[in-house]
């Protein structure tokens, strides 16, 4: 009873905040509603017993992605109202395509039949001892069974990082950089000059 009440609360707020994300006039409000949506989705994960995913959602999506969005939205002077004006003309087509896809997928799910081996296959990687704590269970397989994928994901992130640097970094001229060794090794004679100034004249 209590669980279903919590579920419906989280679900309702999630749907509502998602709606606000796309309807809010102020883009900053959109991002804030997005954060609210993420937190409620994290709540739903906790209800499912997937607390690790809930943490990740809160830390990565709220902590990093959404805050980054917020920065971008506030830093860039984009008139979202103008963008949205043109976007309205695609709504009918979008609704049509989306509606057809929704009906088709509903039909697929209505007639859904899983393979008889499903239960046995799906339990495969998880150690029975770690069942109760899925953070531990994930930790146990992530660096062992799925080592290769983990490392490959690292390479993907590296490529993303190289890309960000390649596409944005440019050598600027006229920038004064601090060079510590140059500063330290400087001699008195390099910077100070003693001049004898006779009175009444300049240098």
């Amino acid at each position: 009873m209590l669980a279903s009440l919590v579920f419906y609360t989280f679900g309702f707020i999630l749907i509502l905040s998602s709606l606000f994300v796309i309807t809010a006039r102020n883009p900053v409000h959109s991002v804030l509603f997005l954060i609210l949506g993420f937190f409620n989705a994290a709540g739903l994960f906790v209800l499912l017993g997937a607390e690790f995913l809930a943490f990740i959602l809160a830390i990565v999506y709220v902590g990093a992605v959404a805050v980054l969005f917020l920065f971008v939205v506030m830093m860039l002077d984009i008139s979202f109202a103008d963008l949205r004006k043109d976007a309205m003309q695609y709504v009918p087509v979008g609704l049509l395509v989306g509606g057809v896809l929704l009906i088709e997928l509903t039909m697929v799910f209505m007639s859904w039949q899983a393979s008889p081996e499903l239960a046995q296959n799906i339990a495969h990687p998880i150690d029975a001892a770690a069942q109760a704590n899925n953070t531990k269970a994930l930790g146990l397989i992530l660096y062992t069974d799925y080592l290769l994928i983990f490392q490959m994901s690292g390479m993907v992130l590296l490529v993303a990082m190289i890309g960000a640097i390649v596409l944005t970094l440019r050598g600027r001229s006229g920038v004064r950089r601090q060079d510590v060794s140059k500063q330290v090794s400087i001699k008195r004679a390099d910077v100070v000059e003693v001049q004898k100034v006779t009175s009444g004249t300049g240098i």
Binding site: Q151, M155, V156, I162, G163
Partner: protein, 488 residues
């Protein structure tokens, strides 16, 4: 199959990938600290490394008579994957030579270009060795992500960021489709490993959800090989990217993607052949028809080659439709020949510079027979080969594919293939006509020939293969039959 458990054993099995990853990381750091000539040194070292990788793959051949599965079933190494990796490394080597000289001339070269190409190649290696849907996906992403960056590598051009952006957004949608399809398959079978999927799916009767998943996965993969109707990005990206990067796009990633599709459809989805054959049939037919007809009206050589590559993917898919070891072998032969021909064609295009940049328009080829007879005759041979005129290599590529299709009873598809190659021959021959019979315009003396021996050497080598293939056509065809045996 042998299931290894020892991680050192796994690393030994995945030697090409481990070496490539280590080299890419080292090269990145090494070049970042190199103040002068970083691009030249990085390119040269990468070329040397690629030669090394080909040797390593060749050396590993003897130990993989039987497929070896490593990393807990995520990775497979067999004859097929090793051979295709050699092909991919060769294609990357040729592209890297082009990229180096092209970027040197346009002065956009930075050491990240060879590093990204090596990382992209790493993704392709994983694609051909994928034995799990996860490996497949992450390999594909690694490969594509590096390509998106390479597409917009020239920041001074307004077209390059457009190309990169289009490629990135459409690629992301395609990846979404692929993942969506995978989730259906996982929802049905409860596992992502190819071995388990093969067992589970082999005995199943028709299942709607599973077929929908398969269809979505094929949509995602069809995008990566730019099969019609998922080809829209190809002409724009080919046109916008630097010419040598376009060469890389046209030559290498398609081989990896086609081989991945072959392994996927014949391995885990082998039991669902009745369902995927229709989809691949439609993709093949649409690609051949559109590739032939849309190419007729192009004025840009890069767009023309984009449509040519779309058409060629149609022929390769015909081999997959034909199925079986013969069909598989025909795909491998076709892709190998296609790679060499396309590499040669781009070699000619990249040798001709107008204001430092590779020629863009077909009109720039006017009167080439007088200004540079060698390039005109080389281009003629490549164009004859692409249109499938015997005795050049392209003819044998088409021949084996058509033969496989006819033997499997897909006569309609084969007839369409022959007809569309006649249509496509028009635009290939039009270039020859432009070179030999059109009078040069007033501005023609602007065209310069690059002075680099290495680039011309590559061109001559591809030319030698295209011409010399007819002497020993059976070698490659028999070899292809041996190596696809590990798939079936």
């Amino acid at each position: 199959m042998i299931q290894s458990v020892d991680v050192f054993q796994d690393i030994k099995t995945a030697m090409p990938e481990v070496a490539t990853a280590a080299f890419a990381l080292w090269l990145l750091v090494f070049s970042a600290f190199k103040k002068h000539q970083a691009f030249a040194v990085a390119s040269f070292l990468s070329c040397a490394f690629l030669v090394g990788i080909i040797v390593v793959c060749f050396g590993m051949f003897g130990q993989y008579d039987e497929p070896v599965v490593a990393f807990g079933g995520l990775y497979i190494q067999d004859y097929f994957s090793l051979s295709i990796k050699m092909l991919i490394a060769l294609g990357t080597l040729i592209s890297l030579i082009y990229v180096y000289f092209d970027m040197k001339q346009t002065q956009i070269g930075r050491f990240e270009a060879p590093v990204l190409m090596i990382l992209s190649m790493l993704g392709m290696f994983f694609m051909v060795s994928a034995h799990d849907l996860l490996t497949l996906y992450v390999g594909l992403e690694l490969q594509s992500l590096a390509l998106y960056i390479l597409a917009s590598f020239n920041r001074h051009s307004y077209k390059a960021p457009e190309a990169g952006m289009k490629y990135f957004i459409l690629g992301a949608i395609a990846s979404g489709m692929l993942l969506f399809g995978m989730s259906f398959v996982y929802g049905f079978a409860g596992h992502t490993g190819f071995g388990v999927l093969e067992e589970v799916l082999n005995g199943t009767t028709y299942n709607v959800g599973l077929t929908v998943g398969l269809a979505f996965m094929l949509v995602g993969l069809a995008f990566k090989i730019s099969a019609v109707p998922f080809h829209m990005w190809t002409p724009d990206v080919y046109q916008g990217a630097p010419a040598s990067v376009t060469a890389f796009f046209a030559i290498v990633p398609k081989i990896a993607a086609i081989c991945l599709i072959m392994r996927l459809l014949n391995g885990p989805f082998g039991g669902l052949q009745d369902q995927w054959v229709q989809i691949v049939y439609a993709l093949s037919m649409a690609s051949m028809v559109l590739g032939a007809f849309a190419g007729l009206v192009q004025t840009s050589i890069k767009r023309l080659l984009a449509y040519s590559s779309i058409g060629n993917i149609g022929y390769a898919l015909m081999g997959i439709v034909a199925g079986g070891a013969d069909g598989g072998a025909s795909v491998v032969v076709y892709m190998t020949v296609y790679m060499i021909m396309t590499a040669g064609t781009f070699g000619v295009v990249l040798s001709l510079r107008k204001g430092g940049v590779a020629v863009e328009e077909i009109a720039d080829f006017k009167g080439l027979s007088k200004t540079s007879p060698f390039h005109a005759y080389a281009m003629t041979l490549f164009m004859f080969s692409l249109s499938g005129i015997p005795p050049l290599a392209g003819f044998f590529g088409k021949l084996v594919v058509f033969k496989a299709a006819v033997d499997s009873g897909y006569i309609v598809l084969a007839v369409i293939g022959v007809l569309t190659s006649v249509v496509a021959a028009y635009y290939y021959l039009r270039i020859i006509k432009t070179m030999f019979f059109d009078e040069e315009d007033a501005g023609m003396d602007e065209i310069q020939i690059v002075p680099y021996a290495a680039q011309h050497g590559t061109l001559v080598a591809t030319l030698a293969v295209v011409v010399g293939f007819c002497v020993v056509p059976a070698v490659l065809i028999e070899y292809a039959e041996v190596l696809v045996r590990s798939l079936f």
